[in-house]
Amino acid sequence: MNATVRSDALEPYVAAFDAARPFAGETEAARTLAFERFAELGFPSPRDESWKYTNLRRLESRRFSSTAPDTGAMLRAATVPELAPHRVVLLDGRCVASRGPGMPPLSGVRIRTLAEAIADGEPQSALFRVPSGGGTERFAALNVALCPDVLVVDIDEGARLAEALQIDLASSGTERGMSHPRLLIRAAAGSSARIVLRHAGGEDAEHFVNAFVEVEAGPDAELRLYRLQAQGGRGFLVERLEATLGQRALLEIHDAQLGASLTRLDLNARLAAPGSTARLTGLFLADGSRHMDTHVHVDHLAPHTTSLVDYRGIAAGRGRGVFNGKAIVHAGAQKSQARQVSRNLLLTAGAEIDSKPELEIYADDVQCSHGSTTGQLDPAALFYLRSRGLGQHEARGALTRAFAGAVLSRMDHGPFAAAVHATLDDRLVRLLETTE
């Protein structure tokens, strides 16, 4: 009985896989392997620990099909405001504007599509690798099977990019459309770059975006990712971000999750070589009936590695947030530091955030800490502001912005920070008016 239900849920994906055949460039074998992995794992059951607070029944019950290329949508996607001087647009997972007219060349970066990478002899093992483990392995496998393109971004050895690169993961907004954007970002030794990753589009349509982003930072590389998730309000979004760091490499992720209807982000960082550092900070706003689930997993695999995870969540209305942070300090990763902070704010009685920081330590000379709080706006602070003449909305807004500000103030890319502030302000004004 159960098996029948499972196969029903997988049926649209089987159809999508069949429709995508034949695959270009002799990639069929790798794709088929990935699809079999997805089919084997299937959708998570409610008993699956890593999906404890996130029920995918709604996603499973919809029949999504792969979005066809859409010229009109391509043009619209290319006109949304830019947050950086250089931009690449993946529309429904297809690269539409890597070197469009008016786009100045950004020296020190090589950006290729899947076809170009294959033509260059890029090994399929790099392009179609399925990550193992974690609750989103199944979706990453599905992405590898179905991604219409792979955007390969290589930052040259020693290149220090003065300007940021923006990569839009845009949705065309096809009702019941699904897409599988795939990114591979490699920062070679000694390079330094800032990349804005923006999820946008799909405003009025129920759609499903299943993204898979791989990041490799070589020795002494510095990579700063600014992730702005402003997906349309009826969207489902699952994303796996898998990062591996080399010696003394630095990865910073600044994450702002503001959109979509149901989201799951798995952010996995492997501190694989001595001296590597990951700083992962983020904010999510689960208002309305939004459900946002974030899992951050850091593996300390080498000595002298450092991780700082600092996430803040805000929930309002019937919104629901989930934060699961896990740091594992493996045997031999001596002199490592792992710090995790999860702070959460509930603006209304119906909102909920479940936060669970976890630490596993198998080395004896390490510094680790974790903390988690969930609470409401401080009534004493609220009264203080109102006693100075600020109205209820303005006082609540000021305190909420102050709460978010602790992570937003570290988002040091100006246009990105401005876009996050503007969206947050706009949403706070609306949600505070309706949650009086």
Binding site: S387, A398, R401
Partner: protein, 251 residues
């Protein structure tokens, strides 16, 4: 200005104020003194509209309006200001933002235009000089990491900016050294005005050496037992509060 009649108030179902009567006219400075637990701070909190204080009986009339029916922000906009005994630290909310937002909310209520950035800065600079505060305080979080004295100075700075009609000072002198007390008192005195009334709640007579009250009241067990001129404060300082309570019982 302010007429309090038979005010009863409870905190967590415990009666604290048990029939306070008090009238403050325009331009007057009143001191409310009394032993710990007499209800002094409760009175200030009730007047400012703090949550958790339930008025069970009585009335408070402020400039002809029913003060108790007003939300805290509406009281502030109508010219009531409470200088907190324990000013709240609010990291992430900028001091300058609060001053400007508060000032403009009150100006809007008065039908005055908002101040532009230049006018605001000129005004706040002048008031900060008076309070001997460094301008760097403007860009810090509200009271964030301020010392006890700095917090109290910041309260009076806000008061000087907002120019209230009725200022309530709740133990503004507590925790101040003598130099800070002088600065704070100087700030309060600069705001004495025929159109402004000041009610100071204090445990000690010390502040009254610097800010001379017109009337001194003794609050004990939720009632005003005795009222008099500034000489009463000196007598309290010498003799304590017990004799007042004793005389009240005899009477």
């Amino acid at each position: 200005m302010l007429k309090i009649h038979n005010l009863h108030a409870s905190v967590a179902n415990r009666p604290i104020l048990k029939g306070v009567d008090l009238e403050v006219r325009g331009g007057e400075v009143h001191a409310i003194m009394g032993p710990n637990g007499s209800g002094k701070s409760t009175l200030a909190s009730v007047l400012a509209g703090r949550e958790g204080y339930v008025v069970t009986d009585g009335t408070v009339e402020y400039l002809g309006q029913d003060l108790l029916a007003m939300a805290p922000e509406d009281r502030a906009r109508a010219g009531v200001f409470l200088a907190f005994q324990y000013p709240v630290e609010i990291p992430g909310v900028n001091n300058a933002y609060l001053l400007k937002a508060a000032l403009n909310a009150i100006r809007k209520q008065r039908g005055e235009p908002e101040l532009d950035a230049f006018e605001f800065l000129a005004m706040v600079r002048e008031r900060m000089k008076l309070m001997q505060m460094d301008e760097s305080f403007l860009n810090r979080g509200v009271n964030e990491g301020f010392s006890g004295g700095e917090k109290k100075r910041n309260e009076i700075l806000q008061m000087a900016m907002l120019e209230p009609r009725l200022a309530l000072l709740d133990e503004t002198d507590s925790g101040l050294d003598i130099d800070a007390l002088r600065v704070v008192a100087n700030g309060v005195n600069s705001l004495r005005d025929p159109a402004r009334s000041i009610v100071m709640v204090t445990h000690y007579q010390r502040l009254l050496d610097y800010v001379e009250p017109d009337v001194v009241h003794v609050l004990s067990d939720g009632r005003i037992l005795l009222s008099g001129g500034k000489g009463l404060a000196l007598e309290l300082e010498k003799r304590g509060y017990d004799w007042v309570r004793h005389e009240a019982r005899v009477a």
